[in-house]
Amino acid sequence: MGRFLLRRLLTAIPTLLLIATLAFLILHLAPGGPFDSGHVLLPQIQHAIEARYHLDEPLWRQYLRYLADLAHGDLGPSYVYRGTSVNDIIARGLPVDLAVGGTAMLAALLAGSAIGLWAALNRGSWRDRVPMTLAVLGISLPTFVTAPLLVLVFALQLHWLPAGDWVAGSWRHLLLPALALALPYTAFVARLVRASALDTLASPWIRAARARGLGTWRVLLHHALRPTMLPVVSFLGPALAGVLTGSIVVEHVFGLPGIGRYFVGAALNRDYTLVMGLTLLYGTLVVLFNLLVDLCYAWLDPRVRVAA
């Protein structure tokens, strides 16, 4: 297990390096720079600014300088939000995203698994067909459609919940964004769990457990649950990536002070360091989460443990 973990951690480094290099090249090879839009500056001032941020150096030096800073955990100063470092922006925004995204993922997992299991146990009846039809609908409704519709219904028409804004620790402000983010994943998890549960329930060891006279709940919880959850666990990796981009939309619609809303603006303003920092943060989160998923997988499925 330790070796497996070490190997996965070591492969994460080239991945992150690739992301950093790609983002760096795209940004720096593109026309336009962070300081050449808007007002006309005196040449001396322009030079002074570029020297201050090392933009006058050859590209390879800038790249190495960035990597050296990165190795020390310093993502550099933001070019547009003067006097603020990218680390500050992330430290302020990330907790909001973690709260919304975490709530959404948890809700999607719990609700999706419950719905999927229920549908599988009632296979073929309306208690299977209705939730599964809704699930196809849920997958087909993207976050940027559901989020405005949720605002329209629950905030603007019914006035039950606030339409946006963020108050730290207030569940009323958390509920709608998390719901909008959770809906497609709930639907996806429900479909996965249903299919997987049907497979599991048809397997010989479940029949054996039933033949030994164990009760329905005991069979479900002790014998069927773990193998049923395997596909869900491997879905969690891609799901996190989806939640991250979904949070860009949700922040946009609800006006949350997370990091996603900086992203588009930062790219538009050529805020090199901020875009790089956020892209790397997304990459790190995805890599970390995939690692976590693999560990969970090994824990749930003894066959994987043996192979590793």
Binding site: T11, A12, P14, T15, L18, I19, L22, A23, I26, L27, A30, P31, G32, V136, L137, I139, S140, L141, P142, F144, V145, P148, L149, V151, L152, L156, A241, L244, T245, I248, V249, H252, V253, F263, V264, A267, L268, R270, V275, L278, T279, Y282, G283, V286, V287, N290
Partner: protein
């Protein structure tokens, strides 16, 4: 051989059409496609011309979806949006299928070290947060229509590559391949006679499922204001426009949102149905 291959496809189509919900899906898709093509031709209103005398009208017989903030007919704009979304969906999916099949088949057929190298690359690319990168790309290089195609196509081929590679490896292990090799079938014919027909089904299914995901991706970019350029519209940019006006004029949001959902729903359902129909193990 040719007759049986045709038979397989005919059988699949028959099985697909046996399911009532699939027949309805096809009707709805055909209607949508027809409307997207014909309505802009038949309507006297252009998708781009503002009409200041009829701003934000609710739905009425003369404008079934109402009008938007510039007085443009929302039905015409939504149908134009469908055209754009479908075009992006088809072209970008085609691109991603081509790259994915080429990559996956090469890895699966070569095997060994090449396979390991190519699949490690796919693994690494999987961890790249692509949507942020595409956002950066589209922002930085301008919002050219072709770039949207290229960016989406270039990032959505990973799944297909993995699936095709797995399938190609599995086919390589089969007895009939061994028999064909023993009989001295040249590689080109082997590819054409054995690999292509066996891979075609799974490629068709995943291509169908790629179309809706690509349409959603383009809609996301357009929603963030990074996709198609105004006055042209895609379903995503129409939803974004609608979201801005929804408080006083919900119809501007509801119609494009419903149409986008319907389109994606139909395509997803069709993909599911094709998967069932093409799976010969099913009774």
């Amino acid at each position: 051989m040719n007759a049986t291959r045709q038979g397989l496809w005919r059988e699949a189509v028959r099985r697909l059409l046996e399911v009532r919900s699939q027949r309805w899906t096809l009707y709805v898709l055909a209607t949508l496609l027809g409307a997207a093509l014909l309505v802009p031709l038949a309507s006297p209103h252009g998708y781009a011309t503002p009409e200041w005398t009829r701003i934000l009208r609710p739905p009425s017989p003369s404008a079934p979806f109402g009008t938007d903030g510039l007085g443009r007919d929302l039905l015409v704009r939504t149908m134009w949006g469908c055209r754009v979304s479908l075009l992006v969906g088809l072209v970008a999916s085609l691109m991603s299928v081509c790259i994915g099949v080429a990559w996956g088949a090469t890895a699966g057929l070569l095997g060994g070290r090449w396979d390991a190298l190519m699949m490690r690359t796919v693994d690494v690319l999987y961890s790249v947060p692509f949507i942020p990168l595409v956002i950066v790309l589209t922002v930085v290089f301008g919002r050219h229509f072709l770039l949207v195609f290229a960016a989406i196509g270039a990032v959505s081929w990973l799944d297909i590559a993995r699936i095709v590679r797995g399938q190609a490896l599995a086919i390589g292990q089969r007895e009939y391949i061994e028999a064909a090799r023993a009989l001295g079938l040249p590689p080109g014919r082997m590819l054409w006679r054995h690999y292509v027909p066996n891979l075609a089904g799974i490629v068709v299914v995943y291509a169908t499922l790629t179309v809706p995901s690509v349409i959603l991706f383009e809609a996301l970019l357009s929603f963030l204001g990074l996709g198609v350029q105004a006055p042209l519209a895609s379903l995503g940019s129409l939803v974004a426009d609608g979201a801005a006006e929804m408080q006083a004029h919900p119809h501007v949001l509801v119609f494009p949102a419903a149409l986008l959902a319907l389109l994606i729903l139909c395509l997803n359902h069709l993909g599911d149905g094709l998967r069932d129909a093409l799976d010969p193990r099913q009774p």
